[in-house]
């Protein structure tokens, strides 16, 4: 899965300034040691290789040195040195990204954020918020607050660092009801390129809303480490639903399934999850997760409410919509174990799809379109995929208009990779042509850089670059990501 797609590796072109001093990082190692202590500075091959990759399809490229600061003041001190010496810094959380956002591209410092001490710093149950350091993952947080009646809903497939999820503006299966990271961050502590420590809502701020000043919280959310390093996040929590139920529904065609989603959204049912798996994906999940679903286009649905009656009402409405679109009767998962098994299988959909070809690597796409364009976009994508002869699985958070195609690939096969890239290009352009976006949740990283201008236009891209240049004039923060 980690082998190289040479064609994905961008030329790191420095339009802001040139930092390419091959000896710069090496020459500062003793300085880093004096800031962090020797044990937190590593140039060992094995350690560097641990921080060389994410879960996407880029060549592992080890950083020159891995730094493990324990405090925000240490992060600040490191950045001051790197900014003076114009040394590139790649922030690294759990390394679970898919587009190369935390991958080292050349001679650089890898700043691992997960050693920063503090973990879960402050839980305000009454205000539904919690502040966490980068070491805390989404599953750890939810385990910690299990007894409070609250939960954090954003759930990308991986058990990612929550601060890393802020950096990539992650989402997942619950976003249709609870929003993405964008809607679930109240404040951030960020260290800028010059070492200054910024609190995007002030040092203590955690109001539900504010009209004071520029929305720095929103600006850093999804900035993929290119504007600052997130060292703490105040996150919004949600009450755990008092009642919930999970159902599966199978459909004869992709269009029937997707049309059911579209109608559900248009009826404004506050559904918690509405996930689509096409027949190829269902078959892959059956095999990988040892489940036995009917191998047809399928929706996995979850209903949340404060009362059983509310949940039943939602299920009744959606059931009627599905029936009118030729859906099967709902198969209910009622026991917590059944629900867990189903959603675990869904979260493993990517690995299941990759496993369809023994020894293959995974290539995954990620687009998002307006709901009204979803059925035609998925049908065209399935037809396109079939016409190429590639074996790919379609899965998605379709309530948001967001879906993925996972293609198991042999990257040595140049002909095949050319086809895969051409297919992915056509998919992105299909999404953009109907008012969609080149990425719903994986981010730009390295893999989507060449679509940014197409999506935002020259003026939009230029505006982003002006902001980057203002906050990181030496281009030391995660250079070569988002922008070419």
């Amino acid at each position: 899965m980690y082998r190289c797609l040479q064609s994905c590796l961008p030329k790191v072109h420095h339009e802001f300034t040139s930092w390419r001093h091959l000896s710069a990082v090496q020459s500062k190692i003793s300085k880093f040691e004096s800031i962090l202590g020797k044990e937190a500075v590593s140039t060992k091959e094995a350690i560097r290789m641990q921080y060389a990759r994410d879960e996407g399809h880029l060549l592992p490229h080890p950083p020159t040195v891995v730094l493990l600061p324990k405090t925000v003041e240490q992060v600040s001190a490191i950045l001051r040195v790197c900014n003076e010496e114009i040394i590139p810094v790649v922030p690294y959380g759990t390394g679970t990204g898919l587009e190369g956002g935390s991958v080292s591209l050349e001679d650089c410092v890898c700043l691992s954020t997960t050693a920063i001490e503090g973990g879960i710093c402050e839980l305000n149950e009454a205000d539904f918020d919690v502040s966490v350091r980068p070491s805390v993952t989404r599953k750890e947080l939810n385990a910690f607050i299990r007894d409070t009646g609250l939960f954090f809903p954003v759930d990308p497939g991986a058990d990612a660092s929550l601060c890393g999820m802020v950096a990539t503006s992650a989402s997942g299966t619950n976003a249709v009801r609870y929003g993405t990271m964008k809607e679930n961050v109240r404040n951030l502590e960020v260290v800028l390129a010059d070492g200054s420590i910024v609190h995007t809502r002030g040092e203590r701020g955690r109001p539900r809303k504010s009209a004071a000043g520029y929305d720095l919280t929103g600006l850093f959310t999804g900035s993929e480490g290119t504007l600052g390093i997130i060292t703490k996040a105040v996150l919004r929590l949600h009450p755990r639903p008092q009642a919930q139920s999970v159902a599966l529904c199978h459909f004869p065609t992709v269009a029937d399934a997707v049309n059911s989603v579209v109608e559900t959204m248009q009826m404004a049912v506050p559904i918690a999850r509405i996930e689509f798996l096409d027949e190829v994906q269902v078959a892959a999940c059956n095999k990988y997760s040892h489940i036995e679903l009917q191998e047809q286009p399928t929706l996995a649905l979850e209903f949340h409410g404060q009362t059983v009656a509310e949940v039943e009402q939602q299920a009744k409405t959606v059931g009627e919509i599905c029936t009118s679109n030729n859906g099967s009767a709902f198969q209910w998962a009622t026991e917590p174990e059944q629900m867990d098994k189903l959603w675990t299988a869904r979260h493993h959909a990517y690995y299941a799809a990759v496993a369809m070809r023994t020894g293959a690597a995974g290539f995954i796409t990620d687009v998002c379109v307006p709901i009204s364009k979803l059925a035609e976009t998925i049908v065209q994508t399935r037809n396109d995929l079939d016409a190429t002869g590639l074996k790919g699985a379609i899965v998605g958070h379709v309530g948001d208009g967001n879906f993925h195609v996972t293609i198991p690939v042999f990257e040595e096969n140049e002909e095949e990779m050319k086809m895969v890239h051409a297919f992915s290009d056509r998919l992105v352009r299909r999404a953009l042509s109907v008012g969609g976006t080149c990425t719903g949740e994986h981010g730009i990283g390295v893999g989507k850089i060449h679509y940014l201008e197409e999506e935002f236009g020259a003026a939009g891209l230029q505006t982003m670059k002006m902001i980057k240049k203002a906050l990181d004039p030496n281009n030391i923060l995660n250079p070569g990501k988002i922008f070419a």
Copy 2:
């Protein structure tokens, strides 16, 4: 209401560059005429006075010239000229702001956005979105889409321009369920200081979510005309609830009422509106709007749902909470006329409070605190107000932790004004000390400038200034607003 509080007028200090050429605007009038046509360029005293004020408490200060562009290309051409000549430009929508955000401070161009043609450009019912030009107000939009089953929920007191509402990050009574402008904008067309036209989500983009690039939409939302002029907004619509009900509940004390709100939020009831009016505000509304409410601390509640049962369940839960906090039995407004009358009275609360003293001007505050700090903050504020001897009314969107104090003032009375400002200062600091913000929805404008550094710290403020400088290096866009 429009008389001057001299102490509020900031010294417009230009740290970026100096544009103070007294003749610069005059010398370009023929240029503006050649771009717009003579009829769209006005230096007449009467017209200039129309654009000299907002609804807050700043001295009317007429701009040098009022420009009424009809197209975004004309806006772009004007800004190019102003940027070259370093002429300040104050964007002006409906002029319904309260903190002086659209008020001219000195020799400048007032660019009225409401003549831009197009109105409601594109309604996508299936995707719940609509794109509007600045001429469209919130009430006009809701009248236009009345038959679609959709509505736009954000409702500041005034019938403001929707694009202006984006610029100030407005909210209102529905924000507790439907969010503020921040959560309800999908794309913006913005003209930057250099005349470039940016689409924050690309020219056609309107996905429900995206992880592509920096969140420019969020950055311009609430930037109060200091980063660019908003010429079009793609807004998110919501399904009109199938069932709704409105109730009033009276309480013996402020603390009882506010504690009911806090518990309602903590029980995660998806309440649509939960508005607090203290006894002084209720008495003022009774007199001003010819209604007859019990003159006690009062909550006005609105429940939305897809079924009557859902609404009844919400009302039952909240009813029990209110009873346990010594609230009266709910008084129901069931007929649309009754509901309208009640919410109109609520929307006129500011005018009602000002009318408590004949001939007085209005001074209104706006803070927002975490829910757990709301009861103590409001109680302390009422005690503080009473101790000063000022007659003020407290009202607020308390489900968000947001509340206002309206004080009718005689601005000629220096002693009184000193007391009012000192009270307002103490209120803001009380809010900040418990993790709140100096403005929940009115914005910084001119009136709140001196709190920005206190709220965000030097590094946070500096970050905002770096962004401002990057996008508007000559400081021509609404100078003297947000930043001193």
